[in-house]
């Protein structure tokens, strides 16, 4: 087993383990922390794929911002009622079992598909592309990020601008919701 393969399996098990923990913990706080762990694992996987900038973005945005929001919001709620809704009842148990079943089905399916030849051909292409990029990359440590920037600001420039508008709209919406009366905070 080469170190790279070992690293992949280690990270894969970490991600799947923490992903399962998200489902199986009854306390929402633990679930959210496990989800953060999953995000960190995904960031590490990106590093093994030489996508350093994406890995950093994964860390900053998902692990560092989105999950922090989740954990903070969970702290604002009365967690006891949530725990009961989470842990008891046949429906939620059934949903958990179904999701675990779906997940294991996906894994088994992935392994079976991975052995078929056409996927093998595809991944061979991907490996070739990656090898070709590795040759290019060795010139400068920022080459991959620069490539990403080049594509983002020439080909996908419209999507980029639209995203700016979208984010502003979300901000306006969030402010409007938080200021509306009759929520939990202003009720007396």
């Amino acid at each position: 087993m080469t170190p790279d393969v070992f690293l992949f399996w280690f990270l894969a098990l970490l991600i799947i383990g923490s992903g399962l923990a998200v489902l199986l913990f009854t306390n929402p706080i633990y679930s959210a922390l496990s989800l953060a762990m999953t995000m960190v694992g995904v960031a590490a996987i990106f590093i093994t794929l030489h996508a350093y900038f994406i890995a950093g973005v994964q860390l900053i945005v998902y692990a560092g911002a989105v999950m922090v929001l989740f954990v903070m919001v969970l702290m604002l709620f009365d967690i006891k009622a949530e725990i009961q809704a989470f842990s008891s009842g046949k429906i939620s148990g059934a949903i958990k079992l179904i999701s675990v079943g779906l997940l294991s089905g996906l894994i088994v399916g992935g392994i079976i598909m991975g052995q078929k030849s056409f996927v093998g051909e595809l991944s061979k292409d991907a490996v070739q592309v990656a090898e070709a990029q590795k040759v290019k990359k060795s010139t400068s440590p920022d080459a991959a990020t620069k490539e990403l920037g080049m594509v983002l600001f020439s080909k996908h420039i419209f999507g980029f601008e639209a995203l700016g508008v979208l984010l502003t709209v979300i901000a306006v919406g969030a402010v409007a919701l938080a200021r509306s009366r009759g929520g939990t905070h202003h009720a007396k």
């Binding site: 900038f53 950093g56 973005v57 994964q58 860390l59 900053i60 560092g64 954990v71 702290m75 440590p141």
Partner: protein
């Protein structure tokens, strides 16, 4: 992977050494902070245990170790105990990516004087240190105390608010150097001031080629934001005797408390190191390039190994002098400025520093666009 067992072993030892260096620096910094504050406030400070009170460090460590291990009944134990352990991780992981000197070349091996060379240095450091919010939230929630919870919410809201100004002030630096890699940034700041404008090269023999002369506003914003990130005064609103006692670590004592301290001082060290690398030439010696130093060392000795060792040591010393100076500034500011009120703190972050950082970004882009 093109590496032998020896090199991997050395790298692992290096990582452990960097961590131990950080841990060792903490009691010294605590001593400097207490003596320094006493000096500033015209008091004595610790001066009974050992010469100049230096053995106070040892006494403190023994005291922390022999304290009873205590957790409140209502605390959520896994989180309560995991939080101080987790407090060590983000700052150390980020600090290990800081280049502290030029690589050492001995007999065909090249040893970098840093834990690991991340290609995307800044993005990695920002990403890892943004995980520090979890420590605060875990401690606040795990303690099951309202003071802890409120303190944790306050602290994490503060940390994330200032992360914006921090991230945005770095955009100007990336525009300037055109790279994410910390070593390349330092390489770009060698020698005396010289830059290209309108096809001419402007040089000055008296000013070092440091980032602060290109990005003074970013330097101010960045430095202020690092204070807030490491929860130091004047931004230490996570604590407040009269309102929320000790904030998120109200219920902690003894060694667990010390581990939070290590995390806090770790962030302080990270802030000073980044400040040096972005704005003060990193390990470079002012006015002089690495090649100059190497030539000077070549005049002293013949063997390539000795030259490399001397070059590395000289640059390490240069890094340490700057590093210690900025750590002292952290302590100095703490005992000079009064603290903020919470709304003032948030106003400063969102309404002052964020717009100014934006302005800095636009200005930098405009200047780079116009002169080239």
């Amino acid at each position: 992977m093109g590496q032998d067992v020896f090199e991997i072993t050395v790298n692992c030892i290096k990582l452990v050494l960097i961590f131990l260096m950080m841990v060792q620096a903490v009691p010294i910094l605590v001593w400097v902070e207490r003596r320094g504050s006493a000096f500033i406030q015209n008091r004595f400070g610790p001066n009974r245990v050992g010469p100049l009170g230096l053995l106070q460090l040892l006494a403190d460590a023994v005291k922390f170790l022999t304290k009873e291990d205590f957790a409140p009944d209502k605390a959520i134990r896994p989180l309560f105990y995991a939080a101080p352990i987790f407090a060590l991780i983000p700052a150390t992981l980020a600090f290990a990516a800081i280049p502290m000197s030029v690589p050492l070349e001995i007999g065909g091996y090249v040893f970098k004087i840093q834990g690991y060379d991340m290609n995307v240095g800044i993005v990695y450091i920002l990403g890892v240190s943004s995980l520090a919010a979890y420590t605060i939230l875990m401690a606040g929630w795990g303690s099951a105390s309202k003071f802890s919870l409120l303190g944790a919410l306050r602290a994490s809201a503060q940390v994330i608010s200032y992360e914006l100004a921090l991230g945005l002030s770095i955009v100007g630096i990336i525009l300037l150097f055109g790279t994410f890699n910390l070593t390349e940034m330092i390489n770009a700041q060698q020698g005396t001031l010289s830059f290209k404008a309108f096809g001419h090269t402007v040089t000055s023999a008296y000013i070092p080629n440091w980032g602060i002369f290109y990005q003074p506003l970013a330097a101010i914003i960045f430095f202020a934001a690092t204070f807030a990130e490491s929860n130091r005064l004047p931004f230490d609103l996570a604590e407040g005797e009269a309102e929320i006692v000790a904030g998120f670590h109200t219920e902690y004592g003894g060694f667990k408390m010390l581990m939070f301290f290590i995390g806090e001082y770790g962030h302080m060290m990270l802030g000073s190191a980044l400040m040096i690398i972005f704005f003060f030439g990193g390990y470079g010696i002012p006015w002089v390039t690495v090649d100059d130093v190497r030539q000077w060392a070549a005049g002293l000795s013949e063997s390539a190994t000795t030259i490399s060792v001397i070059t590395t040591l000289v640059h390490f010393l240069s890094f340490m002098i700057k590093f210690v100076f900025f750590l002292w500034v952290f302590i100095w500011v703490r005992w000079t400025l009064p603290r903020f009120r919470y709304d003032q703190l948030m106003d400063l972050g969102w309404k002052t520093m964020l717009p100014w950082a934006l302005g800095n970004t636009i200005l930098t882009a405009l200047v780079i666009y116009l002169i080239s």
